[in-house]
Every structure is written in C-alpha cells, then in structure tokens.
C-alpha cells in the first residue's frame, strides 16, 4: 500500500457520536484564520488606504470584476458568496505548503459540502431574483419534454463540481506520494511547485463555475 486510502476517513477524535476527521479540523482553522483576518482588516478602514487595505481592495475589486465579466450582471449580490468560496478553496488547496497539513479539499466530504452550498445558493438566488413561479417555469423553457434532462443536469453539474475539485487535488497528492515512495526526497519538489499552480487554477475554476451556475439560475446568462 503506497498511500492511505484516499476515499476513506481519518478520524482524529469524536464529539459524542460524531467522528471528526483531520480535514474538518483543518477547515476549522482555515475558517477561523480567514474570518479573523477579514474582521481585523475591515475594522480599521480609512478613506486613504494603508498598504494592507490597498491589497485587500485590489483583491475584492479583482474578484468583483471577474464575477461581472462572467455573469454579465452587477456583481454586488454575488460577491460575498463567490469571493468567500474562492478564498476558502484557494487557502485549502495551498494549505499543504505547511508541513504536516493535508489539503481538506483532497477529501470528498469537504468538496461535497462546498458543492452543496453552491447547489442551495443556485436555487435561493434564482427564486429570490425571479420569483418562485417564474423560476420553476424556466425548467420548462426550451421544451417541457426536456424536463427530465434539465433536472438530471442540475444534479450532475453539482456532482461534477464536487468530483472535479476532489479529483484534481487528491490525484495530485497521490502522485506526490507515489513519487516520494519511488524516488526519495528531492524529486517531488518540482511536482509540488506544479501543485501551487493546480491549486490556484482549481480554486479559480470552482469560483467561475459557481458564478456561471448562479448566473444561469438568475437568468443573466445561458446555462453552462
């Protein structure tokens, strides 16, 4: 056995009957860091930005611009959700840079939770923007005969959102484990550097696809 089972759970400890895996603890730490950092950064906002505030403003404006380009609608209502998803997935993907930390996104349960958030938000934003009746009517739109396929595509694109992130990050981890067991210490280093690129690109893709799905649900763009 080269690596631990990538599909199984590594239970660290239990709270009552609830098993808590290492990935969950890592996400808690990342959530605390992101939320604490954001609270700290936004508590002292000034009209003349300091260096940190300028960096943060650039980040937020860049994300808003990307969302606007993708969804072709004012980005303000979607910026909190999609921006948080992007930052969270990016931090999760880059967490293995620290020693002894594994990427939480390399576990199926983390990506399943993220995809579920997008799934619920899709319908939530769709109903809020269009109203329940018109939102339900858009499922019958090109032709009512296609309803089963439309419903199926709702499910499969959430599933593929989950499996894509999980598969990319986990397979990269597996490749590093295999190389480490075959070739020793230094050879995996360039592959790990490639992992930085993979992590950033996958976070970007997750956020853009979430934006595309939300845009399709509110009727701003055609479904991807």
């Amino acid at each position: 056995m080269i690596a631990a089972n990538p599909l199984g759970a590594d239970v660290l400890f239990r709270i009552g009957p609830l098993p808590i895996s290492g990935a969950v603890v890592t996400t808690w730490v990342i959530m605390a860091l992101l939320a604490g950092g954001a609270a700290l950064a936004s508590s002292r906002l000034r009209a003349e930005p300091s260096r940190w505030q300028a960096v943060l403003e650039m980040l937020v404006e860049g994300m808003a611009g990307q969302i606007e380009d993708t969804m072709r609608t004012p980005p303000r209502p979607y910026l909190p959700l999609i921006g948080t998803l992007f930052l969270f997935v990016l931090t999760c993907n880059l967490a293995p840079l620290l020693p002894a930390v594994r990427a939480p996104t390399a576990r199926l349960e983390t990506t399943a939770a993220l995809a579920l958030i997008v799934f619920v938000a899709m319908h939530g934003y769709g109903i809020r923007t269009r109203g329940l009746r018109r939102y339900l009517a858009h499922y019958l739109e090109p032709n009512p005969l296609l309803l089963p396929l439309t419903l199926l595509s709702e499910l499969t694109r959430t599933l593929s959102l989950m499996v894509r992130l999980f598969g990319n990050i986990m397979s990269h981890e597996l490749v590093i484990a295999v190389l480490l067991s075959l070739a020793g210490l230094l050879l995996p280093v360039p592959i790990m550097a490639l992992g930085l690129l993979i992590g950033a690109v996958q976070a970007y893709i997750f956020a853009v696809l979430a934006a595309v799905f939300l845009g399709a649900a509110v009727g701003a763009i055609e479904a991807g």
Binding site: L7, Q66, D69, V163, R164, G167, N168, Y204, L209, G224
Partner: protein, 84 residues
C-alpha cells in the same frame, strides 16, 4: 481463489479506466487549446474572454478524466465485491 480473480480483474479494470479515460479528454483538450490559440492569434483584444471561457471549457472536459480516475480508485480502494 474467487476474490483473487476479482482483485486481478479490478487492477486491470483500473488501469484500463485511467488509460482510456485520459485518452479522450487529452485529445479533446488539445483541440480546445489549439482552437483558443488560433482565436487569440486572430483577435488578441479578446484574449481575456477567450482564456476565461477556455478555462471553464477545459474544466468541463477534464471532468471526464476525473470520473475515470474516481472509478479506478473505487476499484482499488473501495471495491464493493471484495470484503475489506
């Protein structure tokens, strides 16, 4: 004896799944990138829109390969026909 046979078949199945699952998306992604390169060479102004669409499209194509990888991992690590 019987589980041994299932294990052999699972390993071969995993290898076949990954190899053929990489073949199709590889060809498809190559065509997509080539078409995007062509478009960017013709219209460098729209490079931003093109590369964003390309990224999303590549992610969609790549999902097929990832599905095959997951099937292979299921066969190797969580095979329902072998009692673990």
């Amino acid at each position: 004896m019987d589980t041994d046979l299932i294990k052999i078949a699972s390993i071969i199945g995993a290898a076949v799944a990954v190899s053929f699952g990489a073949l199709g998306p590889g060809l498809g992604e190559g065509r997509a990138v080539a078409a995007a390169m062509d478009a960017i060479a013709r219209q460098p102004d729209s490079a931003g829109t093109l590369s964003r669409t390309l990224f999303v499209g590549l992610a969609m194509i790549e999902t097929m390969a990832i599905y095959c990888l997951v099937i292979a991992l299921l066969l190797l690590y969580a095979n329902p026909y072998i009692a673990h």
